[in-house]
């Protein structure tokens, strides 16, 4: 029988949640790396027992951990993230030039086909690649050195490269998103990049439809339809039907179009999930009600999903990397909150139940579907 393994990164360690295909009884293990921030954990699509974790600390910096037994044991691998060329400067919050400095790894994206290949998105924004299981890292510097780089500026959480999507239909195509620079695409395996932000409009930057400068919070793609991308921008939920060439808004009837995560149903490319958050100054759900919104029409028309979620006095946030879907026949949806809850739905979002309630603030959630 199939089963799922949910990988949870929190402010104070990692947790692994296991269940069979029913997803109603959970075994919780952890904390792994207690006391450390775990920005992200993700498994190799080729070898699901190989996991990579980003472990960091304001005191001790960055560590990358690797497991080859599904998270039971871990070993530290390479943590040297050297920018490949003279780092140069980007804009600081006050508009002055600021030297590019490595701070942490936000996102790890293991590549399909080779369990030794993994990408890392880092703050200050850069994309790194390892082909030796994380022992060594090389920057794909064409992104950071794009001519617009000196104009990039950090979002409130830092200038992070937080989203990496590897296009399954075009092996040389990579999407990356940076707060607050925007979305970028490479068609040559990361050597050169172009901003793909046409159609985005962002109040709060001098030129609302500038080529770069947009605070993109998250991108999502369904692997069966890789030309369609969904985006949760700072404000606005957006969709592209041409691999980022242009975007149009699909916020539709959402109660607010601010939010962080966005994800797509495993079997229905038009079914999309977001978690509306009141605003950038109120990082909690509207009316104290935690609601996932689902569109079955690729956006614009959204329905609230509330069964099993708190509908009063709820003031948590759901961060950008803290939602995931499994690929069981009945698609499971998972998300974690800054209040330490991880919620699971075994019926595509119709109903929810907490797997755990009292973890540290959840930074990331990934799920593996295992046979």
């Amino acid at each position: 029988m199939s089963r799922v393994r949910v990988l949870v990164g929190t402010r104070k360690g990692a947790f692994v949640l296991n269940a069979d295909g029913k997803r109603d009884r959970w075994d919780v293990s952890g904390p792994f790396f207690p006391g450390w921030e775990i920005y992200h954990i993700k498994g190799s699509p080729t070898d699901p027992d190989r996991l990579f974790a980003s472990q960091s600390s304001g005191w001790f910096g960055q560590v990358i951990q690797r497991s080859d037994d599904g998270g039971a044991t871990w070993e530290p691998v390479g943590n040297k993230f050297d920018y490949a060329t003279e780092p140069g400067t980007h804009q600081w919050y006050d508009g002055t030039p600021h030297p590019w400095e490595f701070a942490r790894v936000w996102h790890l994206e293991p590549a399909p086909g080779d369990p030794d290949t993994v990408y890392a998105g880092v703050e200050d924004a850069g994309l790194f690649k390892s082909t030796d299981g994380g022992q060594s890292w090389t920057e794909l510097s064409g992104l950071r050195t794009h001519k617009s780089g000196p104009d990039w500026a950090p979002g409130a959480g830092g200038m992070c490269l937080h989203t990496i999507i590897l296009d399954p239909a075009h092996p040389d195509r990579i999407f990356a998103a940076i707060s607050a620079a925007g979305a970028f695409r490479s068609d040559d395996a990361g050597q050169t990049w172009q901003p793909v932000n046409r159609g985005l409009r962002s109040q709060g930057i001098p030129d609302e439809d500038a080529e770069v400068g947009h605070c993109v919070h998250r991108l999502a793609m369904h692997p069966a339809r890789p030309e369609v991308l969904y985006m949760q921008k700072h404000w606005d939920v957006m969709r592209s039907d041409d691999a980022g060439g242009s975007w149009h808004e699909v916020s539709g009837n959402l109660p607010t179009d601010f939010g962080f995560p966005i994800d797509v149903h495993a079997h229905e490319p038009d079914t999309v999930y977001v978690v509306p958050i009141t605003s950038d100054s109120h990082h909690f759900p509207p009316e104290g009600k935690l609601r996932v919104y689902r569109s079955r029409t690729g956006g614009d028309d959204w329905e609230p999903l509330t069964r099993g979620l708190p509908q009063e006095h709820c003031y948590v946030n759901v961060l950008r990397d803290a939602m995931a879907v499994d690929s069981l026949d009945e698609c499971g949806v998972y998300f974690g909150t800054t209040g330490g809850q991880v919620y699971a739905s075994a019926d595509a979002g119709d109903s929810w139940a907490p797997v755990v309630r009292d973890l540290p603030a959840v930074l990331s959630v990934e799920v593996q579907t295992l046979s």
Partner: protein
Amino acid sequence: MIRVVLPAHLRTLACVDGEVKLQVDGPVTQRSVLDALEARYPMLCGTIRDHHGGRRRPFIRFFACELDLSHEQPDAPLPEAVVTGAEPYLVVGAMAGG
């Protein structure tokens, strides 16, 4: 032998209990002690000093013999009591966070 005391998180990362004892050849300085520490426990590289030029991470302090050595030159000799092993060299995670 040089005795080194690590903060708890780094002991866990390096899989060691208690003090670390290091053989240091040549002059015993902060640089030579930390070089020997990182050579034996490579997973500590980058967690005490950065990868570039060995600059101390901002929230790390170095103490010995009731002295704060954090701002001393890395190639300055360590106190004799550290060299003889009478006193440990302390790598400390600064108290911070309110």
